[in-house]
C-alpha cells in the first residue's frame, strides 16, 4: 500500500525529538562522572524510573509487533503480552533488590560482585553485547520500516535519523537523558494506547458490508447447476468447480476467461486459487474459492489480492503497476466483521467485556497469505480472505508459530512451552533493563519502581488486546504489513490520532535503543576495558571513552539497521530473550541462593548458556526458513534441533553447568570478607 506523507506526523515527531534533545543538553552537566553517565548518579526518583522501565521495555516489537499479530491472527499476539509481563514478576521478587545491592554500573558488576574475576567480566560483557545487538537490530530496522510509509523517506534515512538522534541523546547526558526519553515515551505510549482503546470501544463494531466491494464476490449455486444425486459434498464441489471453469472457457462468451493454471498454480495445495482474465481489459484478477460454510449450497469465489514479482524485476499489484495514476492500482485496505451476532448491523458503544464477547460471537474476515511460483519465474504473494469465527480467533494457535499448540504431538507443543519459559525468564536477564536498577537511590526505590513498572506495563499489555482486535475490524489494514496495524487503526479515526500514534511508535524506537546503547557502552568500557584489560582511566577519561564507545555503537546500530533492511527481523527480539535467559538467569539466581557458587561456575554457565542457545537458534527450522530462505519443508529437514525455541533445554543446561562446574572447583568460592 502506498501511504501519504503526513506532515502532521512529522510535526508531532519533531516536537517530541526537540523536547528530548533539549532536555539532553540541559541535563548534560549531570553526566560528567561515570556514576552520572552510566547510572544517572543514582538520583532518579522511583516513580520516574518505574515509567522509564515501561519506556525501556516496551519496544517497537511490543507495540507494533503484538498489535499487528493480534490484528491478523487474534489471540496469539496476546501470548507474548502475557509472557513479557510475567517476566517482571521474576524481576521484582527475585532480582531487583539484590541487583541494586550488588552492582554499580553493569550486569557483570553484580555477577562478579563476590569474586573479582576477569573471566566473569569477559563472559558477561560478551553476553551483554550479544543480547543488546540482537535487540538493537529489530529496533533499527523497525525505525526504517516505520519511516518509509509515514514520512515517505527511504529506509536508510529513517535508520540514520533515529541512529543520529539516539546517539546525540546518549552522548550528551548518558543515562540521565536516556531515563527521561524513556519516561516521556513510556507515558505517551500508555496514555495514548488508553485513548485509542476508549475510541475503539466507543465506535463499537459494525458490519457495513460483507466484502470490501460487491464486485469482490461471485457465487454459483451448486444445487441448481449440478446434478447432485448420490454425490458427497466434496464431489459436489468438484463438479461445481468444473462447471464453473467451463463457463470461463475461451470459446464461451463470458466476461472472463480462465487463465490456465501453470507452475505451482496447478498444484493441489493451490487449487482454491483461480485466475480470471477480463475479456475487455485483459486484466488478470486472482480469486479464492472459500471453503464451504455449513449448509451452504453455493460456491463462493472472492477477490484475492496479489503482489507479484515479475521475472524482469518489476512489481505488479492486483495485476497492474502499483501507483495512483491512470492504469495503476494499489492494494485495498482490509479487516472487517463478516457477521455480527444476531441481526444487528452495528453495535454502538461497547464496554470492554461486551467488546470481547461480541468479537467472540462474530465472524471476522481475516487474510491469509500464499506464495505461488509460476513457470516463467513470476513469484506471486496471494493474500486471500478467510471467514474466521471469533471463537477461533480468541483462542491460541492461529499464528504459524503457535500452530504446534493445536497439534496432538508433544514435540510440537514443546516449542510453545519453551517460548513461554524464555519470556518468563528473559525479562529479568536483559542487561538494558537490569541497569535501570542502578539509577535509583536504594533497594526500596528499586522495589517501588518495579511495582510502578509492572503497573504501567501490565496496563499497556491489557490494551494491546483491544488495539489489536480493534485494528482487525477497522477496515484499514494493509495485508502486506502487519506492523502498520496500530497506526492504520488510528488513521481510521482521524489524522491527528494517526500522527500522534505514528510519532509515538517512532519515539518508542528512541527510548529502547538509547537503553541498549548505554548497556553496550557500559559492557565495553566498564567490564572489558577497565576490568578485563585493566586499562588505567580517570573517571573523566572513562566518561569520554564511554561517549566515544556510545557513538561507535550508534554507528554500528545504523549500519546493522541498513544491512538487515530486507530481512524479517521481529523474531530477533525472541532470540534476545532466549539468549539472555539462558546465559544470565542461571548465574543470577544461583549467585543469590547457593553459597557454593564459584567464579568458574558462573563463567562456564554464562558461556555455555549463551553459546548453546545461540547455536540452537541458528540450527533451528525457523532460522532456516526465515533467515536462510529455505522453504518450510526444506527447513524442517535441514534443522538439527527438534523445535525452534531453545529455552526449555538451554536454561536448565545453564543451571546444570553452573552446579557441576562449581562442585568441581571448590577453590573458586568467594571468601568471606573480601574487600570491594
Amino acid at each position: 500500500v502506498i501511504y501519504e506523507t503526513s506532515s502532521l506526523a512529522i510535526g508531532v515527531f519533531a516536537v517530541i525529538v526537540g523536547i528530548t534533545l533539549g532536555l539532553s543538553f540541559y541535563l548534560g552537566s549531570r553526566a560528567k562522572s561515570s556514576q552520572g553517565f552510566f547510572a544517572a548518579g543514582g538520583g532518579i526518583h522511583w516513580f520516574v524510573n518505574g515509567v522509564a522501565f515501561a519506556g525501556d521495555y516496551l519496544s517497537a516489537a511490543s507495540f507494533l509487533g503484538i498489535c499487528g499479530m493480534i490484528a491478523f491472527y487474534g489471540y496469539d499476539g496476546f501470548l507474548y503480552s502475557i509472557g513479557y509481563l510475567a517476566g517482571w514478576v521474576v524481576a521484582l521478587f527475585v532480582i531487583a533488590e539484590p541487583m541494586k545491592r550488588l552492582g554499580k554500573y553493569t550486569l557483570a558488576d553484580a555477577l562478579d560482585s563476590r569474586f573479582q574475576s576477569r573471566g566473569i567480566k569477559l563472559a558477561v560483557a560478551i553476553s551483554t553485547l550479544a543480547v543488546s545487538i540482537f535487540y538493537l537490530i529489530p529496533q533499527m530496522v523497525g525505525a526504517g520500516v516505520l519511516i518509509t510509509p509515514l514520512f515517505n523517506f527511504p529506509h536508510y534515512v529513517g535508520v540514520i535519523l533515529v541512529g543520529a538522534v539516539v546517539t546525540i541523546i546518549v552522548v550528551t547526558a548518558g543515562m540521565v537523558s536516556t531515563t527521561y526519553v524513556q519516561f516521556i515515551k513510556g507515558s505517551l505510549l500508555v496514555v495514548f494506547s488508553a485513548v485509542l482503546t476508549v475510541m475503539i470501544l466507543y465506535r463499537g463494531l459494525s458490519e457495513n458490508s460483507k466484502w470490501e466491494k460487491p464486485a469482490h464476490v461471485r457465487t454459483w449455486d451448486m444445487s441448481s447447476s449440478v446434478s447432485i444425486a448420490g454425490l458427497d459434498i466434496d464431489e459436489q464441489r468438484r463438479v461445481a468447480r468444473n462447471r464453473l471453469y467451463e463457463q470461463f472457457a475461451p470459446e464461451r462468451e463470458s466476461d472472463y476467461t480462465l487463465v490456465p493454471p501453470t507452475g505451482d498454480w496447478s498444484s493441489d495445495e493451490n487449487k482454491s486459487f483461480i485466475r480470471l482474465q477480463d475479456r475487455e481489459s485483459g486484466l488478470i484478477s486472482t480469486w479464492y474459492e472459500l471453503p464451504p460454510l455449513e449448509g451452504q449450497t453455493e460456491l463462493l469465489l472472492v477477490s484475492a489480492q496479489t503482489v507479484a514479482k515479475l521475472p524482469d524485476g518489476r512489481k505488479s499489484v492486483n495485476g497492474l503497476p502499483q501507483g495512483r495514476n491512470e492504469g495503476e492500482t494499489d492494494l485495498w485496505p482490509v479487516g472487517r466483521v463478516y457477521d455480527l451476532p444476531g441481526d444487528a448491523k452495528k453495535t454502538g458503544p461497547l464496554g470492554p467485556l461486551a467488546f470481547l464477547r461480541t468479537i467472540q460471537q462474530s465472524e471476522i474476515v481475516t487474510w491469509g497469505k500464499q506464495t505461488i511460483k509460476d513457470d516463467d519465474g513470476t513469484v506471486t504473494d496471494v493474500y486471500y480472505p478467510k471467514i474466521t469465527s471469533g471463537r477461533d480467533l480468541m483462542r491460541p494457535g492461529n499464528h504459524p508459530a503457535f500452530q504446534g499448540i493445536r497439534s496432538p504431538k508433544l514435540a510440537d507443543k514443546l516449542n510453545f512451552l519453551s517460548l513461554m519459559l524464555a519470556l518468563f525468564c528473559g525479562t529479568a536477564s536483559l542487561p538494558h533493563i537490569l541497569i535501570r536498577y542502578y539509577t535509583v537511590k536504594d533497594q526500596t526505590a528499586a522495589r517501588k519502581s518495579t511495582i510502578v513498572g509492572i503497573g504501567s506495563i501490565g496496563f499497556f499489555y491489557v490494551l494491546t488486546l483491544f488495539i489489536g482486535l480493534g485494528a482487525m475490524t477497522s477496515g484499514a489494514l494493509d495485508v502486506t504489513n502487519n506492523n502498520m496495524a496500530a497506526p492504520l487503526l488510528a488513521k481510521s479515526f482521524n489524522e491527528w490520532l494517526f500522527a500522534i500514534i505514528s510519532a509515538i511508535a517512532f519515539t518508542t524506537v528512541l527510548g529502547t535503543v538509547s537503553g541498549l546503547i548505554i548497556a553496550s557502552s557500559g559492557a565495553v568500557v566498564h567490564d572489558l576495558l577497565a576490568s578485563f584489560f585493566k586499562l588505567e582511566m580517570h573517571d573523566h577519561g572513562k566518561v569520554r571513552i564511554a561517549k566515544i564507545v556510545s557513538a561507535v555503537v550508534g554507528v554500528i546500530a545504523i549500519v546493522l539497521g541498513i544491512v538487515f533492511e530486507k530481512m524479517n527481523v521481529t523474531y530477533l527480539v525472541g532470540w534476545a530473550f532466549s539468549v539472555a535467559a539462558s546465559a544470565n538467569l542461571p548465574s543470577l539466581v544461583m549467585l543469590l541462593f547457593w553459597k557454593r557458587t564459584t567464579k568458574q561456575g558462573i563463567t562456564a554457565a554464562v558461556t555455555v548458556g549463551m553459546v548453546s542457545s545461540l547455536a540452537w537458534i541458528l540450527l533451528s527450522a525457523d532460522t532456516f526458513k526465515d533467515v536462510y530462505g529455505y522453504t518450510a519443508e526444506a527447513a524442517a529437514q535441514a534443522s538439527l534441533v527438534p523445535f525452534s525455541q531453545p529455552g526449555i533445554v538451554t536454561i536448565p543446561l545453564g543451571f546444570v553447568v553452573l552446579i557441576v562446574v562449581s562442585l568441581l572447583t571448590p577453590s573458586g568460592v568467594a571468601k568471606q570478607g573480601v574487600a570491594e
Binding site: 521484582l92 517501588k448 547457593w594
Partner: protein, 108 residues
C-alpha cells in the same frame, strides 16, 4: 545447601561491623523470603496458564463469565495478579527490620 533461611544474603555477608548492617541484612533476607513465596504463587498460576493453553484447548474455549472465554479471562487475570502481588510485596516490605523489633517508628 540452599541457605536462605540462615539469612544468607549475598553482598552483605562480607561487610560486617558497622551499625545498621545487621538491620539491612535482616531486611534483605526478609524481603527475599517474601519475594520467593510470592514468586512461587505466581509461577504456579503462570504454569497453569501455559498448561491450559497447550493441553486443554477445550477449557480455554469455554465461556464461563460474560461470554468471554477462559483464555482471555485467565490472561487478564495473570496481568492483574502480577500487579496485585507486586503491591502486596511492596506493602509487606514497607518497613525495614529492626533488631529490637521490626519497624517501630522508623518507617522509611
Amino acid at each position: 545447601v540452599f541457605a536462605l533461611g540462615d539469612y544468607y544474603v549475598v553482598g552483605l555477608d562480607h561487610k560486617p561491623g558497622e551499625s545498621g548492617d545487621l538491620d539491612s541484612l535482616l531486611t534483605s533476607a526478609r524481603n527475599s523470603r517474601y519475594g520467593l513465596v510470592l514468586f512461587a504463587i505466581y509461577l504456579a498460576v503462570y504454569t497453569g496458564y501455559v498448561w491450559l493453553s497447550a493441553f486443554r484447548p477445550d477449557l480455554a474455549e469455554a465461556t464461563p463469565v460474560a461470554g468471554v472465554n477462559v483464555a482471555v479471562l485467565y490472561g487478564f487475570g495473570l496481568i492483574v495478579a502480577a500487579f496485585v502481588l507486586a503491591l502486596l510485596y511492596g506493602w509487606l516490605c514497607r518497613k525495614p527490620v529492626h533488631v529490637d523489633g521490626p519497624g517501630q517508628e522508623d518507617a522509611a
